[in-house]
Symmetry: C2
C-alpha cells in the first residue's frame, strides 16, 4: 500500500485530469429551481453529478487514476474500499479500460450500488460496516490481487479528478459567491478547494455533513482529525473519516461545516426530487438541508450546490414505510 | 367558447411562439444513458421537459397563449380543463403575467398537480373523472368567469407552443432518425409533427399510448376519431381524446402509434428513474415502454424521446405497496 501522507495535488494536476478523463465523463448540467430559490432566499445552482453514467462525481477521480496508470501497472488492475459510489465508479472506469477491479464494500451498502459494481465488472468482497473491518479486509484483498490501490478520497489523483467538477461549474454559471458540497472523506471538498483557490479564490467553500456522522465538523472545530469507527446515517456516502490529504484542504480552505439531522436530510431529499425533479441520494441532499437551516448565511448569495450522486434503492425510499 | 375546428397553426406560428415564450420557459437538457442504449439497442436522446419550472412541456403552449393575449383580453384571464399539467402550466403562465386563471380538474387528479395549480395562483373547480363531466362543469366555469379558453391541446396557440420543443431538440442533437412522444389529446405530437415536417421532414414521428387508454391508436387504425369517456390508467396525462386539430397532425404525419400495459409503463418509469436519474411521471414513461416492446423498430436508430412531465406524488409511487 502506497503511503499517501501529504501527497498533495496541484491545480496543474486538475488541468491534466480534465484532459485525461474527458472521454469518460459527462459535462453534467447545472440546474435551477425558482421554487427552491424562493424557499431559501438564495440563488442555487445545482451541479448534477448524479447524471454521470455511473451516477456519481466519483467517476472523475476514479477515471483519472485508472487512465493515468501505465500499461504495466494497469495489468494488475485496481482495488479499493468504498461504501458504494467510489467502488462502482472505479469499476466503471476499470471496465472502460478493460482491467480488473476488486472492491471491499460494507455488507450494509445499498443494493443498488452493489448491483452497479457487478454490472460494470467489478468484484466485491464484503466487510462489516466499520472503518476497522474495512481496513482489515482490504489489506487481505490488496495482498491477494496486487492491484493498484485507488483510495476513495485520500489519493492525489482522485482529488485532482474531483477538482474538475468545480472548474466546469464555474464555466456554467455567471459567477458564484459560494459553493457547498457534502463531506465524508473530503475528496470532493478537497478537489473543490484545490480548483477554486486558483480559479476563483473569492468563492467561499462550505461543507455539509450529517449530524450523525459529524466527524469532519468536530475535526474542523478541534483543529485535528477526529475519526468515528462506525457512524450510522442514511447518508451512506458520508460515513468515512478525513485523512491527511483531505484534512489539508478542509483545514486551510473551508470556511465552515454545517450539519443536518436525518429528518432534515430526508426532507431536503424529497424537496429536490419534487421541485428539481432529479433523483439524488440522501448524501446529496445534505447541502440543501443545511442551507435551509442556515438561511442567514446563504440568503442573497449565488450558491453552487454539488449534487454528488443518484444511486438509490427505489424500493426502499426513506420516506416510505418499511 | 371559440370554435377551434380545424384552426391549424403553421411553422411560422412556432417561430413566433419561440420568441414569445423564451423569457418564460427553459431550454431543457437532452440526456442520454449508455445503459438504456444497451438495453434497447437504440441511441436514445431524452428531451427532459420535466425540468421546466412547472414540471411539464405544457408550459410552452400555455405561455404562448397567455402572452399572446392583448391587454383587453388578458384582463378577464384564462380558463381551461385539464387532468393536471396543462392546468398547472396555465396557472404558472397566468401568474407570471398577473392575470386570473380558472381550471376544471378531475377530483382524482394527482394531489401534486392540484397543489401546484394553487401554488401558482390558479383556482380549481373539481369535476368527475370523465370527459362528459369535465365538459359540463367547464361550461359553467367559463360562463361565470369570461376567461379566454385555452384548450389543453386543440388550440392552435397551444400546438404552436408545443412545437418549440422539437425545434430545440433538433439543435441539441446531431440528427435524429425518429422522435417518439406520449399521446393523450395529441398536443405535443401535433406540435412535433408541425415543426419536424418543415425543419426535418426525414425524421419519423411515433406516438406512445397506454393500452388502457388506447383511443388514439384505435382512431389511427380506424381513420377517424374514437373517444372513450373515462379510461383508467396510471398515465393520468393521457386519458383525453383527440380533437379536430390534433387529429389532423396525427392522421397525416404520425408513422405509427404503439401501446404499453400498465405494468410495462411502471417498469419503464422505474428504469428511467434508476438509470437516467430523472423524476418522470407515468405518462412520460410510455415511450420507453413501447421502445422496449418494439425493439426491431428502434434498434440502430437515433431516437428523440420527449419526457413530457415530472409531477409525481412521491408518497404514492406506483411500485410501492398501498
Amino acid at each position: 500500500m502506497k503511503d499517501m501522507t501529504m501527497a498533495l495535488p496541484t491545480y496543474d494536476d486538475v488541468l491534466k485530469a480534465r484532459d485525461r478523463i474527458a472521454p469518460h465523463v459527462r459535462r453534467t448540467p447545472v440546474m435551477t429551481s425558482d421554487y427552491l430559490n424562493d424557499l431559501t432566499g438564495a440563488q442555487l445552482f445545482f451541479k448534477c453529478e448524479n447524471f454521470q453514467e455511473a451516477g456519481a462525481f466519483k467517476v472523475r477521480g476514479a477515471s483519472n487514476a485508472v487512465f493515468g496508470l501505465d500499461d504495466v501497472q494497469a495489468r494488475s488492475g485496481v482495488c479499493t474500499h468504498s461504501s458504494g459510489n467510489h467502488a462502482l465508479s472505479l469499476s466503471y472506469a476499470a471496465g472502460r479500460r478493460g482491467i480488473p477491479c476488486n472492491v471491499v464494500m460494507p455488507r450494509t451498502a445499498p443494493q443498488a450500488k452493489k448491483d452497479a459494481v457487478r454490472r460494470y465488472g467489478g468484484t466485491i468482497t464484503e466487510c462489516e460496516p466499520s472503518t476497522s473491518s474495512r481496513e482489515a479486509v482490504f489489506a487481505q484483498v490488496q495482498a491477494a490481487t496486487g492491484g493498484d490501490f485507488v483510495h476513495p478520497y485520500n489519493d492525489p489523483r482522485v482529488i485532482a479528478g474531483q477538482g474538475t467538477c468545480s472548474a466546469e461549474m464555474m464555466e456554467q454559471t455567471d459567477g458564484l459567491d459560494a459553493v457547498i458540497a457534502p463531506i465524508g472523506g473530503g475528496g470532493m471538498i478537497s478537489g473543490t478547494c484545490l480548483t477554486l483557490s486558483t480559479l476563483a479564490p473569492e468563492v467561499v467553500v462550505y461543507a455539509a455533513e450529517p449530524e450523525q456522522a459529524d466527524d469532519a465538523c468536530r475535526s474542523f472545530r478541534a483543529g485535528h482529525i477526529i475519526a468515528d469507527d462506525a457512524p450510522v446515517t442514511i447518508a451512506d456516502g458520508l460515513k468515512v473519516p478525513l485523512k491527511e490529504n483531505t484534512w489539508h484542504f478542509v483545514s486551510t480552505h473551508v470556511r465552515d461545516i454545517f450539519t443536518a439531522s436525518e429528518e432534515e436530510i430526508v426532507e431536503a431529499m424529497k424537496i429536490t426530487w419534487k421541485y428539481l425533479r432529479v433523483v439524488m441520494e440522501p448524501s446529496s441532499a445534505v447541502p440543501l438541508a443545511t442551507i435551509l437551516k442556515n438561511r442567514e448565511v446563504f440568503a442573497g448569495k449565488r450558491v453552487g450546490v454539488i449534487v454528488t450522486g443518484g444511486n438509490v434503492d427505489l424500493d426502499h425510499l426513506p420516506w416510505m414505510a418499511g
